[in-house]
């Protein structure tokens, strides 16, 4: 017998898509039965109360989680988010229901051994409810109490060799695409760079010292599977400088219909016979491709590496060999000043361990500038907007490059600096008046 009636939530059990309500109910039942005799360290009925409080939110059309409560583990300013229910009498099982962010492994590959270890820990010391995964990337443990925080941290670090992720005004847990682990488009090892920077910047990850949050995300190519360009303060997107490699025999196989275009992504509908002119050459945004008899030609200097032709013909076309990353800065969601897309600040940089140039010439100068100039709760992108891309160029000490802009300015309100104008700004009005009467 369920502890709370949930008539509204029950309606989310039907339909084909996996029902979180059914899952919560199975977990609630399992905890109630406790066949394994676990000595639960948070209330046994936590999940039943979670269902109850959610039902109440459905009834009210409002959340019942409170804004309030600073909790964490000793020495860390991030990784734990305090959460309290605003109806603790009704739902004592979730009166305290904090979130812990567990730093996920790169590419989100797991062994079942590690997953089970996490489940054992979370069944014992938490609600057994998780997010796989949060939007930032972490494994999210939802629902524990304050006395358990240090215990969980102790077990994570001592037994599972595993750390917390980030929250608050610090580096948030970096996240990457699957990259070279299983994607032929990856121009660099996203997992290696993500892991290296995550470890290098543990202090920034766990101890808030920034004006606001800061996110790194890593996409192996311009397809941007982890959306780095839209949701990270620094976005690393793999790219190449030399020529797209062409297997002309495979091109013919696509034309002849022996290989399906776009890896079979359009199999659900009859789009007609593959037409390389219409589907590839004419859609190339730079118009840099052409068929020369039976040979596909690409004028690589004009290619902007948009990935379209490679996506359509992955067996005929391959990324080039001179690989690296483009770095874009300042993407963020609307709060406060409107949404921003990442802006290209480093068109190309090599990307081999130990990544010294990336750290010393890009990340750290940007952080220093932001920590110096950023206002409280001002994201890097907002500071860039306030002080200008020219300031970023100055901070990075790089040469201005037409690649950094969509187009040159159309307003002539040019701010010259005094040192840029011959003779400076200080002049003698009396000298001037000698030749210009009042």
């Amino acid at each position: 017998m369920a502890k709370h009636e949930t008539p509204m939530l029950d309606q989310l059990e039907s339909g084909p898509w996996p029902s979180f309500v059914s899952d919560l109910k199975q977990q609630a039942e399992k905890r109630a039965k406790n066949a394994e005799g676990i000595e639960f360290q948070v209330p046994q009925d936590a999940v039943e109360d979670l269902l109850g409080v959610l039902e109440l939110s459905y009834k009210h059309g409002r959340t019942h989680w409170k804004h309030g409560g600073i909790v964490g583990v000793f020495g860390y300013g991030g990784g734990v988010i305090g959460r309290y229910c605003d109806q603790p009498q009704m739902f004592p099982g979730v009166a305290h229901f904090h979130t812990m962010r567990i730093n996920q492994p790169g590419g989100k590959f797991y062994t079942t051994k590690f997953l089970r270890d996490l489940c054992d820990l979370w069944d014992f010391r938490g609600s057994g409810i998780t997010n796989m995964h949060g939007s930032t990337g972490d494994i999210i443990f939802l629902g524990t109490t304050t006395p358990q925080l240090e215990e969980i941290f102790y077990e994570l670090t001592h037994k599972l060799d595993q750390d917390l992720g980030g929250s608050g005004s610090n580096l948030r847990t970096p996240a990457d695409c699957i990259g070279q682990a299983r994607c032929e488009y990856a121009c660099y090892d996203t997992q290696a760079l993500c892991y290296d920077l995550t470890n290098e910047y543990q202090d920034e990850l766990h101890r808030p010292a920034f004006p606001y949050k800061f996110k790194f995300k890593f996409d192996g190519c311009p397809n941007c599977c982890v959306a780095s360009i839209a949701r990270s303060d620094l976005s690393f997107i793999g790219t190449w400088k030399d020529d797209i490699k062409i297997d002309q025999a495979a091109v013919q196989a696509y034309i002849g219909g022996e290989i399906v275009p776009n890896a079979g992504a359009h199999s659900g509908r009859d789009w007609g016979k593959f037409d390389i002119q219409k589907e590839v050459i004419d859609l190339c945004p730079t118009g840099c491709m052409a068929m020369d008899g039976k040979t596909l030609k690409i004028n690589n200097r004009e290619c902007t590496r948009c990935m379209h032709c490679i996506n359509v013909m992955p067996r005929a076309l391959r990324i080039g060999d001179e690989r690296g990353v483009s770095i874009l800065a300042g993407a963020k969601a609307p709060i406060l000043d409107g949404a921003q897309m990442g802006t290209l600040v480093v068109p190309f940089i090599e990307c081999e361990p130990p990544y010294t140039k990336i750290k010393e010439e890009v990340i750290e100068p940007l952080w220093d500038w932001w920590m110096e100039e950023g206002k409280n709760r001002e994201r890097l992108g907002e500071l860039m907007k306030r002080q200008g891309l020219q300031k970023v160029i100055e901070v990075l000490g790089v040469d201005p490059d037409p690649r950094m802009v969509q187009e040159p300015r159309s307003n002539p309100y040019i701010f010259w600096k005094e040192e840029e104008v011959e003779g400076g700004w200080e002049r003698d009005i009396n000298e001037f008046r000698k030749h210009h009467l009042r």
Partner: protein, 381 residues
């Protein structure tokens, strides 16, 4: 429920303390075929919706079966995933950015038994536990945030609307009939944990009433200058109020100026905005993050408000279905929803999707607004 210590000693928190060790290293968890062929993949193909094969230079193959999942998962569910991974995949499994679960096997003969196993697993309520799909030119899993399940600022729930919408578009999760892939995302407030502002279709929780003022507690709970500074439209100013004969420091909000961002509530818990009628959903459309063909784009607001219709959000689900059908019918192969809208023009987009254009859809927020007004005679009747 006796307290059991793990060995941590609160008297000496620094004793044996291990910190800043970071995550476990990714390559500990690679399946052998991945470890062996990393960086040497030649090409991939979708054998059927939800099933991929990747072929390496060595000739090795890895078959991936992708399943949808609710991102909110219990340990019971994760243990079931482990059981499947042990049975079919040598104890390895991974998750995708869009919260899908991927089971990988190194031989084609292992695919069908895995598919059969997955198809047979259902929750007691009747829904699939592991529906296969989410690849290619279809609708993949909806990435979303916490909503009423665990956050303090949401204007809508997350898991509920996602379940309702995925039920509605379920067939397209399992097929490849779209012109290009369709990415749907949900954020339950303007903070937008995640990146719904660049999705083909975005569901966004939105408040429509200015904050209430809990004068009695405001000065005790909040740093008033921070709350004032937090407002992007400068709608908040300091005020003195009298309550029960007591003069209190508090704030006043110029309601006309408020755009309901909730930023003040973030800074000051005594300024809640949540409201049953006030809160609901904004639908945005036409965004993308990939650089394929056209540049990444922001999503645009196409429906300014839909009420929260718990538990199944029918109007939201129906509106999304309507847009997906219009797009499927009209767009060209490889054209993303936003590229389609730009080609046919937004005036046609509203017509074809049967959506009303209202004054709320005209931008009026600062400079960027101007760049969205039409400055040409090139328009369509």
């Amino acid at each position: 429920m006796a307290f059991i210590s793990s060995g941590y000693n609160p008297e000496k928190p620094m004793e044996d303390r291990i910190t800043d060790i970071g995550p476990r290293k990714y390559d500990e968890f690679y399946p052998p075929v991945i470890a062996k062929n990393k960086g040497k993949w030649l090409y991939h193909e979708y054998l059927q919706p939800g099933v991929l094969v990747h072929v390496a230079e060595s000739g090795d193959e890895v078959y991936t079966v992708r399943c949808g999942g609710a991102r909110l998962m219990s340990t019971s569910h994760i243990r079931e995933i482990c059981e499947i991974a042990d049975k079919h995949c040598g104890g390895h499994v991974r998750w995708t950015t869009r919260n899908n679960i991927e089971f990988m096997v190194d031989n084609k003969s292992k695919v069908q038994p895995l598919l059969d196993d997955l198809a047979g697993r259902k929750f007691k309520g009747g829904s699939f536990k592991f529906p296969v799909g989410g690849t290619g030119a279809g609708v993949s899993n909806i990435v979303h945030t916490q909503g009423w399940i665990h956050c303090h600022t949401p204007a809508t729930d997350a898991s509920g609307p996602v379940k309702a919408v995925m039920d509605e578009v379920f067939a397209d999760f399992q097929q490849h009939r779209m012109p290009a892939h369709v990415r749907v995302s949900l954020a339950c407030c303007l903070n937008m944990c995640g990146a719904v502002h660049c999705s083909d279709i975005a569901i966004l929780g939105y408040h429509r009433k200015p904050p209430m003022l809990d004068h009695e507690y405001l000065d005790k709970m909040c740093e008033i200058p921070l709350a004032i500074a937090a407002c992007p439209t400068a709608a908040i100013k300091p005020a003195k109020v009298e309550i029960n004969g007591q003069k209190l420091n508090s704030v006043a909000v110029n309601n006309e100026r408020c755009m309901f961002c909730g930023n003040c509530y973030t800074m000051c818990p005594s300024m809640p905005l949540a409201d049953t009628e006030g809160d609901g959903i904004v639908i945005m459309a036409g965004g993308k993050v990939s650089n394929r063909i056209s540049a990444p784009k922001f999503s645009k607001v196409v429906v300014a408000f839909i009420p929260n219709e718990a538990p199944r959000w029918p109007k939201t689900a129906e509106t999304i279905k309507q847009m997906i059908e219009a797009y499927a019918k009209d767009a060209r192969k490889y054209e993303r929803l936003g590229e389609w809208a730009e080609r046919i023009g937004w005036e046609r987009f509203f017509e074809k999707c049967e959506l009303d254009f209202t004054h709320h859809l005209i931008d009026d927020f600062r400079d960027p607004a101007y760049y969205t007004w039409r400055q040409t005679t090139q328009f369509k009747f």
